[in-house]
């Protein structure tokens, strides 16, 4: 089967950008990806055959034809398609690009995501719940924080997971985020601070929730031939897996796991011919801290119920055996909904090429990205490899 390779990756700063539009943010990310690092052969929008854009469209602006609007703004003339899978839109955009390349229909596809969330104030939470189950779950008074809080409560009840476990996710990811110049919340926090944040949806407090972020990310996915022709390094897409499930938590077989994550991971591992032990780092979907703990278990980093212990052991810290969310994750890097999944690929690309600066995982050769839509209605997992591995 033809392979797909990431030959460029870029992003805007993640944060609050009142002076930026979704198109200007996306242009920043695209220019970053096209330009590459020093010494990389620069690319132009004209080289792009096709564009796939992940965006939810928070606020309702340009809900229709947002991909075409973004494509013309960045100078891409090929077909442009919007992918909507809530918080997994950006990951699914990358998946769509990989499929187009593998199918031989395109040589260079621009996959990206963008979201502007800070244009809204009081009405923003209307939009935070649109990817939950809107007929029943939402009308039981939940947005996502509430649904993930219910998952946390169930996990605590079933496995003895504690608020301290949840808080350690924040401490670790803020520590990483403080080393990421693109991060939205690039500050460190103590366990005490993370424990004592104000309640959002108990058992989740403020430090157990990601911020609402403006931002964009873009990656360039190339065919074997196109990658070989380019004078810039590339990272191979070794495996992709995706899965979907009931949108509402109450309709799922379990509340203490995300079944679609398990299915997506199984497929990605099988496609890549690797297992969780073969990974050097992972970017996982930590929209709420319980989500990172669930990810450890669903991705096979540990057994069910043992995620708190795995985190406490330091195994997933930057210096650990399997660093998780070196970018800072959604918690510290930020969560511009449609851009998040693509942003995870950007982090893996930089890590595997040794371009991650202060947060570089030495010798990283293989990384996994795990992107969840909603509370688990859609999941996509990518495994990326680079033979030489990232060097500090």
């Amino acid at each position: 089967m033809p392979e797909a390779h990431v030959v460029g990756a870029g992003q805007s700063d993640f944060g609050a950008h009142p002076a930026e539009s979704y198109r200007s943010l996306f242009l920043t990310a695209v220019e970053d990806a096209l330009a590459g690092d020093d010494g990389d052969e620069p690319l132009s929008p004209a080289d792009v055959d096709e564009l796939v854009l992940g965006t939810l469209g928070v606020g309702g602006r340009q809900l229709g034809l947002s991909a075409a609007a973004a494509a013309t703004h960045v100078g891409v003339e090929g077909p442009a398609t919007r992918v909507e899978n809530a918080c997994a839109a950006g990951g699914y955009a990358v998946r769509a690009a990989v499929r187009a390349v593998r199918a031989g229909e395109a040589d260079l596809v621009l996959a990206g995501g963008v979201e502007v969330m800070n244009d809204l104030s009081e009405s923003l939470p209307y939009w935070l719940g649109v990817s939950g189950e809107t007929a029943y779950e939402r009308l039981a008074g939940t947005t996502f924080s509430g649904v993930y809080a219910q998952m946390a409560a169930a996990h605590m009840d079933a496995h003895g997971t504690t608020r301290e476990d949840l808080s350690r996710v924040a401490v670790k990811n803020h520590r990483n985020g403080a080393r990421n110049p693109h991060a939205h919340l690039a500050f460190e926090c103590t366990l005490e601070e993370a424990m004592s944040g104000p309640a959002v949806a108990e058992p989740l407090g403020l430090y157990h929730c990601c911020p609402t972020t403006d931002g964009a990310a873009a990656v360039l996915v190339a065919s074997d031939a196109a990658a070989a022709d380019l004078d810039r390094p590339s990272v191979r897409v070794a495996g992709v897996g995706a899965g979907s499930d009931a949108v509402g938590l109450f309709d799922r077989e379990t509340y203490t796991s995300i079944p679609a994550s398990r299915r997506a991971a199984e497929r990605a591992y099988e496609a890549a011919g690797v297992g969780p032990d073969d990974l050097d780092l992972a970017e996982v979907h930590d929209c709420f801290s319980i989500a990172e703990l669930l990810a450890y278990e669903d991705l096979g980093f540990c057994e069910p119920g043992e995620s708190g212990d795995l985190l406490a052991s330091g195994a997933t810290a930057l210096e650990g055996d399997l660093p998780v969310n070196t970018s800072g994750g959604l918690k510290a890097k930020g969560h511009p909904i449609g851009a998040t999944g693509t942003g995870q690929i950007v982090e893996l690309y930089e890590q595997l090429l040794g371009r991650a600066g202060e947060r570089q995982v030495e010798g990283a050769r293989r990384g996994l990205a795990h992107n969840v839509g909603g509370s688990g209605g859609a999941v996509v997992v990518h495994v990326l490899e680079h033979e030489e591995g990232g060097a500090a």
């Binding site: 209307y126 719940g129 509430g146 219910q150 109450f250």
Partner: protein, 498 residues
């Protein structure tokens, strides 16, 4: 005037909101409390319709009957949530009363509850009379200081001999201004001329009492305030003790159209609204006078009980609400939801789901027997696209998981509700069994009722904030109002809370 009807009351039900505001609380806010009465306060998601459903369910349960068996539905209230619109239709739907049942609403008079009872037994078939009310006055006025809430329901049917209306009489001298509410206004008003008001009361009561025998064990007299029932005693020809034996004011307040029906129900059930979980005490009285009085005059009934009358009262141990909490629930100090969009549920979309909202209508898969909620599309279990066999889930279930939503974590459409309860609210997924086997999970609000569920459930410990495994029941409440249309549906109420 004697009655020739064959109908009698087969069972009685009542509902009292859990929250009570004590006179000291009002005094702490205004410097004085002119009424000195502890009153029932509807929670932020309660209104006359939700209380009517709650009372109606109790009457049906007491009779071991279902709404499907009701031929006629009568709803009495001075505070219908809509002055015109789907009122008895929604009440009937929530109680599973057939759509073909005849129905009527009596809404313009505080004696409406008594008049509805009087009408009911003249009809053939099984009639459910529900009176529920929650009047309000001007925020700082005397009528607000006594405004209460509650509901009572009476299931009547031919040849039910346990409680019979023996005589009925009415008198409606025109005394405008004694008690009225202007169109479009939600506050009860009056000219408040003492001599005029008292003359009107005595004249109407005496004229009606002249037409029937008022020698009874207990008199349930309209109680717009703590003293007025006793002022009527002389005109009715009953002793003050007889009024005391059948009239409930303290713990309820002015329940308007539900005042006398509630007094009857609580007297028959021997329930003290200030201590609803207390001992039942002696046998209920055998002869009763129901004396309704409102702006439209007096309506009296003489009732006789023979044998044990099933009476079920839904009145949880009361919870005190302070002055600020009372004001918030009155919504005098709360702004509405922010403008915006996203996840809007249109009225037609809401209506399509009413069987689920009102009675947990699920479906059983004919292929694998698994129960799906909501029914529709592929089976939750086997994935087959099937025609589900309708099955309503049990009303009682178990909490599978829950969370406590702080202000920042709530959808904006529930901001006003949250401000009115002044607190975090709980939301849960509960597991309900289906009759005949199987079960399904449903996400629902948890009622607040003054911090129901979640208080003391581990906040200090911070480990497990919800009582997973707790037994709960589904109760009918307001969800929210959009496009001017209030959406009602089931919420969870803890079964074992203190």
């Amino acid at each position: 005037m004697s009655r020739g009807s064959e109908s009698g009351v087969r069972a009685v039900g009542a509902y009292l909101p859990r929250l009570r505001v004590a006179p000291e609380e009002l005094a702490s806010g205004w410097g004085e409390d002119p009424a000195g009465v502890t009153r029932a306060v509807p929670d932020a998601d309660e209104d006359a319709l939700t209380m009517a459903v709650a009372a109606g369910r109790q009457a049906l349960a007491a009779a071991d009957a279902t709404g499907e068996s009701v031929d006629r539905l009568v709803f009495a209230t001075t505070t219908p949530p809509v002055e015109e619109g789907a009122l008895t239709a929604r009440l009937g739907a929530a109680l599973s009363v057939p759509e073909s049942a005849s129905r009527s609403a009596r809404t313009a008079d505080a004696a409406a509850g008594v008049r509805a009872l009087r009408d009911a037994d003249e009809r053939e078939g099984r009639t459910l009379v529900v009176a529920a009310d929650c009047p309000r006055g001007a925020p700082d006025g005397e009528r607000e200081a006594v405004a209460g809430a509650g509901g009572a329901a009476f299931l009547l049917e031919p040849r039910a001999a346990t409680l019979r209306v023996i005589e009925a009489a009415e008198a409606s001298p025109a005394y405008p201004g004694t008690r009225f509410r202007r169109s479009g206004d939600d506050a009860v008003d009056g000219v408040e001329i003492t001599a005029y008001d008292r003359t009107a009361l005595r004249e109407a009561m005496a004229a009606a009492a002249a037409d029937l025998d008022t020698a009874v064990d207990a008199a349930a007299v309209q109680a717009p305030g703590p003293d007025s029932p006793y002022r009527a005693a002389g005109a009715l020809g009953v002793e003050r003790d007889t009024v005391a034996a059948g009239t409930v004011v303290d713990g309820v307040g002015d329940a308007a159209a539900a005042s006398v029906p509630l007094s009857l129900a609580l007297t028959l059930a021997r329930v003290d609204p200030l201590a609803p979980d207390g001992d039942a005490g002696e046998d209920p009285p055998e002869t009763l006078l129901a004396a309704g009085y409102g702006g439209d005059g007096a309506a009296l009934l003489r009732l006789e009980r023979s044998g044990d009358l099933p009476v079920a009262v839904d009145a949880r141990p009361s919870r005190a609400v302070d002055f600020a909490g009372y004001l918030r629930r009155r919504a005098d100090v709360v702004s509405g939801a922010p403008e915006g969009g996203g996840a809007h549920v249109s009225v037609p979309a809401w209506r399509r789901s009413l069987p689920q909202r009102y009675r947990l209508a699920a479906g059983r898969c004919p292929d694998c027997e698994a129960v799906s909620f909501p029914p529709g599309g592929a089976c939750d279990d086997c994935g087959a696209v099937v025609e589900y066999e309708p099955v309503d889930l049990d009303r009682e279930g178990t909490v599978e998981t829950a969370a406590r939503i702080a202000q920042g974590g709530a959808p904006p459409e529930f901001r006003e509700y949250q401000r009115r309860i002044g607190a975090e609210y709980a939301t849960a997924v509960a597991r309900f069994s289906a009759p005949g086997g199987g079960e399904a999970s449903v996400p629902l609000f948890v009622v607040d009722d003054g911090r129901s569920l979640v208080d003391g459930a581990g906040k200090e410990g911070g480990e497990n904030l919800v009582r997973i495994g707790a037994p709960v029941e589904a109760v009918f409440r307001r969800i929210y109002t959009q496009e001017g249309v209030t959406r009602y549906g089931l919420k969870l109420r803890p079964l074992d809370s203190e």
